[in-house]
């Protein structure tokens, strides 16, 4: 089986999951309360849930529109863009965690437990999608070599 066929299936599935996450974020935002299940926490609020949800939704659409004829550069660039969108949202989530974890409530700095606790699950969808979206780097590398 050709590598691109595997890629097609992989990004197809990832696209569907991403799309579903996006929809879920929008539904949760419309509902009002945040939603938490296992290691997943879907944020609410206009900014992270609404705006962020739209971006995750677009990322899913980019993936799905890119899988047809994946080896062609313009199609492949959509896959790359889908991943970039996820990286942006996940990057922001991680940056927010870092900036939250350092200062303390009362004193200057957070306690060690408080610091570590910020990084414990549950995580928002973008962070859960992050490792899966990184696969695109392998494909970029592969194109370069080819």
């Amino acid at each position: 089986m050709n590598k691109y066929t595997i890629g097609k299936i992989y990004f197809g599935v990832l696209g569907i999951v991403t799309l579903a996450f996006g929809v879920a974020e929008l539904v949760v935002t419309a509902g009002g309360d945040s939603f938490s299940w296992s290691i997943l926490e879907i944020p609410n609020g206009i900014f992270r849930g609404g705006w962020g949800g739209v971006i995750i939704l677009s990322a899913g659409s980019f993936y799905l529109s890119g899988i047809k004829n994946l080896s062609e550069i313009h199609q492949f660039s959509k896959i790359v863009m889908g991943s970039i969108l996820i990286w942006i949202v996940a990057g922001c989530d991680i940056f927010a965690m870092i900036t939250e974890s350092i200062p303390g409530e009362e004193g200057w700095f957070n306690s060690l437990e408080g610091f570590l606790e910020t990084y414990a699950p549950p995580y928002p969808p973008a962070i859960i999608l992050l490792p899966f979206s990184l696969i695109v780097i392998y494909y970029i590398y592969k194109r370069k070599v080819a």
Partner: protein
């Protein structure tokens, strides 16, 4: 001298002899670049970029200000000054420099934070250094990255395409985006516009409706939940008034063509240099004006002039705009600096909707002094004539917002 055609002819011959254009295959960079300017794919990307911009901006600003600087200013600096500064709440110099105090149950009590103290050494330093500096720093850092990567002109082209679709032509997007950092260089950047009309129009719109990085930073700190509304109102005003000005000002507004440069990796050297130039530029412009603003407003309160002004303007403020008459102080401060004005507004008791209206008001009713001087320098005297028209528009716009609140039943 050659004619234009002769010159191109000559160039053609020269290039035939010296230049060979080899085969060029589209690279991934080009393909991604295309995605970012076509509306269908470009809009989601722009939405994500703005999300990232905003998210990092607020995380970082909150980290510095709430995480550390507020603790320093409110926990150490203010109490220390209140302790060592001679005089007390009933001394005018103390009121001016440290703490104006406020009335609680009929008694004058000292302030417990730098927003409410209004003193030159407290609010006057807290606003620029405690709140605005981190915000401006992170804003410029990200703006510089977007600039050097080459996303800025693409965003401009994208917005331009979208605006065309809704019938708006000739908006200068690059200066507008720069204006979100600081209006002063944005006004200078309108030099790339072709006609006088366009320059004039964009300078006016920029100065009035585009909130600068300093103002965004302070809004993020004091009204994080409602600043979205404020920005929407301002952008709405920017486009509506732009549309009207375009109709009534004589002259042409030709299309704006932007050459899109290739994407590039920004160099640390250049980013560091540019952020430094801009942040130090900010400090030079902002700090003196914030302090001057604090002084002027303080003196006006102490001499009783502010109360007189508040009472005189009270019918207009409460009936037409629907905001408390105490907002007159911030309105005066807004001549100097918008960030100071918003900070002072936050110390006044009012409803969420009044807050939105009054923040919009302090943003639009006049460009800040530094911007105004720059507009005069760049635009000349014609601008003064239009100022009257502008004041009129502000009244309409402010009243309109009040009307919206009334219709929504929240005013």
């Amino acid at each position: 001298m050659l004619s234009i055609d002769e010159r191109w002819d000559l160039i053609d011959k020269i290039s035939k002899k010296t230049v060979k254009f080899g085969k060029y295959k589209h690279t991934l960079k080009d393909a991604v670049g295309e995605l970012t300017v076509k509306p269908l794919t470009g809009i989601p990307v722009a939405v994500a970029v703005l999300y990232g911009f905003w998210s990092v901006f607020s995380s970082f600003a909150g980290f510095c200000t709430d995480g550390f600087l507020v603790k320093i200013f409110d926990g150490y600096w203010l109490p220390w000054l209140q302790n060592i500064f001679p005089g007390g709440l009933h001394n005018w110099l103390y009121n001016l420099m440290v703490d104006a105090g406020h009335i609680e149950n009929g008694v004058l009590v000292p302030s417990d934070n730098c927003f409410e103290a209004f003193g030159v050494l407290t609010s006057g330093l807290f606003v620029p250094f405690g709140v605005v500096l981190p915000a401006v720093f992170i804003f410029y850092l990200m703006m510089t990255l977007l600039e050097d990567i080459g996303y800025l002109p693409r965003l401009a082209v994208l917005i331009d395409t979208v605006l065309h679709k809704i019938g708006l032509h000739g908006y200068a997007i690059v200066p507008t985006i720069l204006g979100f950092g600081c209006n002063v260089p944005a006004v200078t950047a309108t030099r790339i516009l072709e006609t006088k009309k366009q320059r004039f129009m964009m300078m006016t719109l920029l100065g009035i409706f585009i909130p600068c990085g300093a103002q965004l930073g302070i809004m993020e700190e004091v009204i994080p939940d409602t600043m979205g509304f404020v920005i929407l109102y301002l952008l709405f005003g920017y486009f509506v008034f732009g549309f009207i000005l375009n109709k009534i000002i004589p002259g042409k507004s030709p299309e704006i063509l932007i050459d899109i440069p290739p994407y590039q990796r920004p160099t640390i050297h250049n980013v560091r240099k540019k952020v430094w130039i801009r942040v130090s530029g900010f400090l030079k412009v902002a700090v003196p004006f914030v302090i001057l603003g604090c002084l002027i407003v303080g003196v006006m309160y102490i001499t009783g002039f502010m109360d007189w002004l508040a009472n005189a303007l009270s019918p207009l403020l409460t009936n037409w705009f629907g905001v408390p008459k105490e907002t007159v102080g911030p309105l005066v401060a807004a001549f100097m600096r918008k960030d100071l004005a918003v900070a002072q507004l936050s110390a006044i008791e009012m409803t969420k909707y009044q807050m939105i209206t009054s923040v919009v008001l302090v943003s639009i009713y006049f460009p800040c002094l530094a911007t105004f001087i720059m507009i005069l320098k760049e635009g000349g005297k014609e601008l003064l004539g239009s100022l009257a028209a502008l004041v009129a528009s502000v009244f309409i716009f402010g009243g309109l917002i009040h009307l919206i609140w009334i219709l929504l039943g929240v005013a």
